[in-house]
Symmetry: C2
Subunit: 197 residues, 2 copies
């Protein structure tokens, strides 16, 4: 028998992948259990509902992604505007890899869930909303540094960071709709034009 921890992790990994490749509503608990090789009773031992599983998927996925952002994109020794270019490049490499692996650009997993579920499930909306705010924070910090260094004119760094995340989400959606990761290389650099004063 596998240890309990592996069962829970397998459910999380399976749900994350299936939701991302298709949608929340299209993937049921039964399919998640079958694909993960877990009995339905065992599922409900770990997660009272599909929503609870989804919140756990969001927490785990964002925890890992955030760590990777802080370690590879928002490093303090990288010049602040360069961090924003790294963020765009990370997005591009991700969409390109997904297209190569699945034949589809999958968009942003957080944006996908927000678009599908915000009117239907308040806890999921609130959780994704918090993730977007947490993504804005290191962007705003980079903008603060860029302003202090005189790299950019004074601006409302919090609002501009929110505008940049909105643009990134729009680009991910466009890349998915065109099924073309090059949307990011072509339109991405204009993110640095956004300035709210």
């Amino acid at each position: 028998m596998e240890p309990l921890k592996d069962t829970r992790q397998r459910l999380l990994d399976t749900a994350r992948e299936l939701f991302y490749q298709r949608s929340y509503a299209d993937v049921g608990v039964q399919e998640i259990c079958q694909t993960a090789g877990v009995k339905k009773g065992s599922f409900y031992h770990f997660f009272p509902s599909k929503r609870d599983l989804t919140l756990a998927v969001l927490d785990e996925s964002w925890g890992g992604f955030r760590e990777s952002l802080l370690g590879n994109v928002f490093q303090p020794d990288v010049p602040p505007l360069q961090r924003l270019h790294r963020l765009l490049d990370m997005a591009y490499q991700h969409h390109k890899a997904m297209k190569e692996q699945c034949g589809h650009v999958l968009g942003c997993p957080y944006g996908n869930l927000a678009g599908e579920m915000s009117t239907q499930d308040e806890p999921i909306r609130v959780r994704v909303n918090r993730i977007f705010r947490e993504l804005e924070a290191p962007i705003a910090a980079a903008l603060d540094e860029a302003v202090a260094a005189g790299d950019v004119q004074a601006l409302d760094t919090t609002a501009t960071a929110a505008a940049m995340v909105a643009y990134l989400e729009g680009l991910s959606l466009m890349a998915k709709t065109r099924n073309d990761p090059e949307v990011i290389t072509k339109l991405g650099p204009a993110m640095l034009d956004l300035a709210i004063r």
Copy 2:
């Protein structure tokens, strides 16, 4: 007995509203028929499948929205950059009205479908993609005029229009995720900062 035309129209109107308030997958043919007061056999007389209904909803909805855009936003006698501000204001008024009516900002109906369905239904992806291109056209034309008039520096008007639509879609998604139409008033005007050269 109602004329056939009314039955088809009722199915289109009902599906458009239900999809927009919730999602594609969450709304089945059965519920659409019940809400519209139409028998299931009659549904399949008009639409071979839910996908066909959805393509018809997209065509009709975009036809009407495009006409309203050309008549109220992209009028040739309005200064070109003013048209872009009108577009933002139209988006804001729409999200605000939806929030007042439903308690939720519903986002963009095309973006919602693209996010949910692009990896799952190729004809729907292609149709929404075409709608985005058709929305970019009058924006690019306004930018062409603005460049010719010396209102803005020379830029790649086609790519910049695509960037602006991406930003609009991102803003709609953020307004939906925050459930706050004011995202558009706060972050919207930065759309005019976007410039791809």
